[in-house]
């Protein structure tokens, strides 16, 4: 096993907690069951690693196999590192009929002819997600496996999720993706978070949304009627309305676990008091950041508990509607096309 493989193995083993080590290695199934039994998983990590390396050398495992282990680790822990979402636009006619083998061949081919030394490894999961691990080298050096880029794409959808992509490799990836998915343009989707599953659910709308259809009934039954006929909740109706409004804006049931939402303000300060700030036409630049362990849940609670008044402001509801969590708010330029405050990318 060469130096890079050993380093990757050490990094992955250090990340996997002791309890999960056995299952991870068994899923990797590059070691025989006796070898797995002979390993003592309670040892301190650096001792365990030495034993593991010795067994890998017995099976003459190579760098390729170790990258498989690392990829399995990332697939099992989709919330390590920050993921960025990209959106593909203007699909060509046959974009709909791209299948996995076609996509994989074309992606590898396009990447190879752009960057001489690159190692691409793909894996298709049960739910249709295509995981791609790209180790970038450049014209002279071997692919650097210590800083791989992970790309996740769902075929026939226009969304791509990327983990630690360096800006200098961006154009190469863009071009390869466009060609292999038969789309014309690709853009940042202004959505980044630590949890891949949350971003996927948000963008591909895999959470329970509430529409003003006949679903009111289910909402009413949901909050338990008071236990006794002579007990009456005064604020019941408006609590109900607020809850309905909150669910329509942010969805019902379990919500995708976004952590942050960032608003960059490029607006003029229009404080009511006429102090010096607002007469200069200098822009009042500021960044507003909301963060919580489950941001959508806390927004929904604020609205349904009545802390946030009135209909939900488009600033907040556009997180779920547009599937974004970073916005640039500029002043409403008179005569601007869109009626909501202009959100420039």
């Amino acid at each position: 096993m060469d130096e890079q493989a050993r380093a990757i193995l050490q990094r992955v083993i250090r990340k996997i907690p002791n309890k999960k080590l056995q299952t991870a290695l068994r899923a990797w199934d590059h070691l025989s069951s006796e070898q797995l039994e002979s390993l003592d998983y309670a040892q301190p990590k650096w001792l365990f690693l030495e034993n593991l390396i010795s067994r890998c050398e017995e099976n003459r495992l190579s760098l390729k196999d170790v990258t498989k282990l690392e990829m399995a680790y990332y697939i099992d822990n989709p919330s390590k590192g920050t993921w960025h979402a990209y959106q593909l636009f203007q699909a060509e006619g046959d974009a709909v009929s791209v299948n996995f083998t076609q996509f994989r061949e074309q992606l590898k081919a396009h990447l190879k002819d752009v960057v001489r030394h690159v190692s691409v490894r793909t894996k298709k999961l049960e739910d249709g997600a295509v995981w791609i691990r790209i180790a970038w080298g450049d014209n002279f050096s071997k692919p650097n496996h210590l800083k791989p880029t992970y790309v996740v794409h769902y075929l026939q959808t226009s969304y791509v999720f990327v983990l630690n992509l360096m800006s200098k490799h961006k154009p190469f990836l863009y071009q390869a993706l466009l060609l292999s998915t038969r789309h014309v343009s690709i853009k940042e989707a202004q959505l980044s978070s630590r949890s891949l599953t949350a971003m996927r659910d948000l963008l591909m709308r895999q959470y329970q949304q509430v529409f003003p259809t006949n679903q009111e009934r289910t909402l009413k039954e949901r909050n338990a009627p008071p236990s006794h006929p002579s007990i009456e909740k005064e604020h019941a109706e408006c609590a109900e309305r607020r809850h309905q409004m909150a669910c329509e804006a942010f969805g019902d049931g379990v919500l995708p676990k976004l952590e942050t939402a960032v608003y960059k303000l490029e607006t003029k300060y229009r404080g009511n008091s006429n102090n010096t700030l607002n007469d200069k036409d200098e822009l009042f630049r500021g960044v507003v950041m909301f963060s919580s362990s489950n941001l959508l849940e806390s927004f929904r609670h604020c609205v349904s508990a009545g802390m946030a008044e009135g209909p939900v402001t488009p600033l907040l509801s556009s997180i779920t509607q547009k599937g974004r969590n970073s916005f640039v708010i500029t002043d409403k330029v008179p005569g601007a096309a869109s009626q909501t405050p202009a959100h420039k990318a």
């Binding site: 008071p226 002579s230 007990i231 009456e232 909740k233 604020h235 109706e237």
Partner: protein
């Protein structure tokens, strides 16, 4: 905004209505259940609200409210402020013995001392009683329910010997001993 007044409607026979106002909406429903189970001979309506003023929509169906109970949770600062702001939406007649404060977590160490004092000062200035509730235990809740019912019966005019709410409040109003408090 119309003030809530106790004499705006004709009272129903042998019924009394209490309004529990709590900003956090935690303890009021359990207290309501206890009150309703506790009282057997007169029928008691309990209205739960987060804050005053009450929504106008159901003002017709709402029976005449004989007693307003402000539930103040000492662990949160907002609870007292919400109660204080709701006070301004009460008709003057409520301040003649038809208003009472119910404080939870009075015995808790984490509560800053002056918050309890400010509740008592507020109650004393409005000549209304303060009930301390042990809302964690079962018989604490039943005891609180019984005490609220005792005041409710008088303020709804259902006490056996005609006693006005104001007369009872002369005994039960919270006194705020300024100098001897710390002894």
């Amino acid at each position: 905004m119309a003030l809530l007044t106790p004499y705006s409607k004709i009272p129903e026979l042998n019924t009394a209505t209490v309004l529990l106002v709590e900003n956090e909406e935690q303890f009021q429903s359990r207290l309501a259940d206890a009150i309703v189970q506790q009282e057997k001979d007169i029928n008691v309506n309990v209205r739960l609200a987060r804050k005053l003023p009450l929504p106008v929509e159901n003002s017709e169906t709402r029976p005449r409210i004989d007693l307003v109970v402000f539930i103040v949770n000492l662990l949160s600062e907002r609870s007292l402020q919400a109660a204080e702001s709701s006070l301004s939406h009460l008709g003057p007649d409520y301040f003649l013995g038809k208003l009472c404060f119910l404080v939870t977590d009075a015995r808790c160490g984490a509560v800053p001392q002056e918050r309890l004092l400010s509740v008592r000062r507020l109650a004393a200035s409005h000549h209304c009683p303060v009930i301390y509730a042990e809302h964690q235990t079962e018989d604490g809740i039943t005891m609180t329910a019984m005490r609220v019912l005792t005041i409710l019966k008088v303020s709804a005019g259902l006490s056996p010997v005609a006693t006005t709410a104001l007369y009872l409040s002369t005994f039960t109003r919270c006194t705020f001993p300024s100098d001897f408090d710390e002894d």
